[in-house]
């Protein structure tokens, strides 16, 4: 699973790919984290549970990343890694149940690179060519 930042005139765009849909979500979180934060080694143990429903995988992904964004800018809590993540289909909805690990934001060790206003729906289209899931995501800064 991997992510790659690509050129975008005004904002930050990233292409993410992974072998499973769950891994695609996980690597998208890593991409978001890399966009907002200078990389540091972290041994955080605080856990948050995130449970979301959406009408599409794209909407689910955008909502999930916007949760991380909200935790950072409103609650000063920085996401570090995904502990567990499950995606399931229920009736016409897709559901995400995740546990993420992080820590309170500490400006003496966490250096923020950008303020992401929101994760947009722009160009988010999850494609699957059989053994690889792929999408582009644009972060509005």
């Amino acid at each position: 699973m991997k992510y790659k930042f690509i050129e975008h005139t005004a904002d930050i765009a990233v292409e993410v790919s992974a072998n499973t849909i769950e891994d695609l979500f996980k690597v998208s979180c890593s991409a978001w984290r890399a966009a907002v934060l200078e990389n540091i080694n972290s041994f955080s143990i605080e856990e948050k549970e995130i449970n979301l429903d959406a009408e599409s995988l794209e909407e689910l992904l955008v909502c999930f990343l916007n949760e991380l964004n909200f935790y950072l800018y409103a609650e000063q809590w920085i996401f570090n890694s995904v502990f567990s993540l499950k995606i399931a289909t229920e009736n016409k909805f897709v559901r995400l149940d995740a546990k993420v690990v992080g820590e309170p934001f500490n400006k003496s060790i966490h250096h923020l690179k950008e303020e992401i206003k929101a994760v947009t729906y722009h160009q988010v289209k999850i494609q699957n060519n059989g053994d690889n899931f792929f999408t582009r995501i644009v972060f509005d800064i």
Binding site: E7, T9, A10, E55, Y73, A74, E115, A118, D140, I141
Partner: protein
């Protein structure tokens, strides 16, 4: 002419039209020069977005774009669209995440030449007094949710009531710094939480505070009326509704994506999610958007007050002698209910301005009495190395663009490209050689926001001037810049 498969026809030197086709309800019209048309869209899908906006139910006359057009979300940046109030829709993408991102211009009595050696000190004081940068929190104590809701209802009035300015400031702010019918009940707890600590903060990215000198006057009468003279020190403040506004946009995009299905719309872009203006969802979004707009005006009002304090500290000058006065405050990401003439009939419409500025002409009763013989100031910030402009709204804007004009320069380079170009250079020294003092939270911001990362705003302004939409009053040169 064909640009990336899109047929576009010349109407005049400064105006081009994309004819109606497919699902477009109206043609697209872009104010732009041929040169900009040929060079701006290699990696930019903004023309396609002009076409997409033309699909909006109830759209009137044209899907418009100003010469600072570039790729946005749903709407292009520089996009203007008016929709019928009864039959038409409202779209958060036509406002943007940074609701009421805008600019205010303040004049002083100071002349640059005698005080230029103290600009460094002024910039340091401004940087110390005004919270700037990613995650910055307020110069005033963290407010309660109740107090924040007060700001959402009352806008700049809150700032005045709490000692951050004078009553007179309100009349020189678009909408007197407060959109009525702003109900915080339609703002989520999340949005309020995001805004609690951000009152009076500048933010980061392309937000800035800039000390300028009036370099050239083009229109003596308008300049006199606005209180501008050559050599004068003025101040620009560019910021918006911060995290509160971003969250409101995100909240309502989710709601309106679902509402779109309910109303049977089928739009080519998810970020154009919309709902009838008169629907429950539409009215709730409008109300929440007004709250964010009020938060932004209050923000700029407080920052202006903190800037005045910085000027007084630097120059050890009394308030009457400093004569620190608001010229005007404009928003450039907003949707408003306005009356415009369409096919000979006055009609109420919902005007979306996404990276576009209101530009009302002389005689309009929405602008301050003091300016009614001249027209509304239109504030157009450029990049931090070159210049900004003050324009004035003209009658042609009412005829052609629902009283709208451009808003700025628009980016030319990605942040990554700008960072690459900045390698090995000392940008602070380069700016200093041009007579500009800069202070920023990080060098990275300076690199990302370097002058060459932006288009030349004078090209954008010339097109609006030559098209008669908004004409030049003054050119401002930066001498001190604060970035987040």
């Amino acid at each position: 002419m064909n640009i990336k498969g899109i047929e576009i026809e010349r109407i005049s030197d400064n105006l081009w039209e994309i004819p109606k086709s497919g699902g477009m309800l109206v043609p697209g019209r872009i104010y732009i020069s041929q040169n900009m048309l040929e060079t701006s869209f290699q990696n930019d899908e903004a023309l396609k977005q002009v076409i997409n906006v033309a699909y909006l139910p109830g759209i009137q006359k044209y899907s418009l774009a100003m010469p600072d057009i570039h790729w946005g979300y749903g709407f292009p940046i520089g996009g203007v669209a008016a929709t019928d109030l009864e039959e038409g829709v409202i779209s958060p993408g036509g406002v943007g995440y940074d609701i009421n991102c805008g600019v205010r211009l303040v004049r002083t009595s100071l002349e640059y030449e005698p005080i230029k050696d103290r600009i460094q000190k002024l910039v340091e004081n401004l940087f110390r007094n005004i919270p700037t940068g990613v995650g910055s929190s307020g110069a005033i104590k963290k407010l309660s949710a109740t107090e924040t809701k007060n700001i959402l209802k009352n806008g700049s009035e809150w700032a005045i009531e709490n000692g951050f300015g004078v009553q007179e400031d309100l009349q020189f702010t678009e909408e007197n710094g407060k959109l009525k019918n702003a109900d915080p009940e339609f703002v989520s707890d999340r949005a309020i939480e995001r805004g609690l600590d951000q009152t009076g903060t500048l933010g980061s990215g392309n937000h800035f505070l800039e000390v300028d000198v009036v370099e050239k006057i083009y229109d003596e009468f308008a300049a006199n009326t606005f209180g501008l003279f050559e050599g004068q020190v003025v101040l620009q403040i560019h910021t918006g509704s911060r995290g509160l506004g971003y969250q409101i946009c995100d909240d309502y995009l989710k709601i309106l994506v679902k509402a779109e299905k309910k109303y049977g719309f089928n739009l080519p872009d998810k970020q154009l999610a919309c709902t009838p203006v008169k629907s429950k969802e539409g009215q709730e979004y409008l109300s929440a958007m007004r709250c964010a707009a009020n938060f932004a005006w209050n923000n700029r009002q407080i920052i202006m007050h903190l800037a005045k304090k910085s000027f007084k500290e630097t120059f050890n000058i009394s308030e009457p002698d400093l004569d620190f006065q608001l010229i005007y405050d404009v928003c450039h990401n907003i949707a408003k209910i306005e009356e415009h003439e369409i096919d000979g009939t006055k009609k109420k419409v919902c005007v979306h301005r996404k990276g576009a500025t209101r530009a009302f002409p002389a005689g309009n009763n929405q602008i301050p009495k003091k300016y009614r013989d001249v027209g509304q100031p239109v504030l157009i910030p450029g990049d931090m190395g070159r210049y900004s402009y003050v324009l004035v709204g003209r009658e042609k804007a009412m005829d052609e663009t629902f009283g709208s004009s451009c808003h700025g320069a628009g980016r030319l380079q990605s942040r990554h490209q700008a960072m690459k170009q900045a390698k090995g250079r000392n940008l602070i020294e380069e700016l200093s050689k041009s007579g500009i003092v800069i202070q920023a939270k990080g060098y990275k911001t300076i690199a990302e926001e370097m002058p060459s990362a932006y288009k030349d705003v004078s090209e954008v302004v010339e097109i609006m001037h030559n098209a008669g939409i908004s004409t030049k009053v003054a050119k401002l040169k930066p001498v001190g810049v604060i970035k987040g």
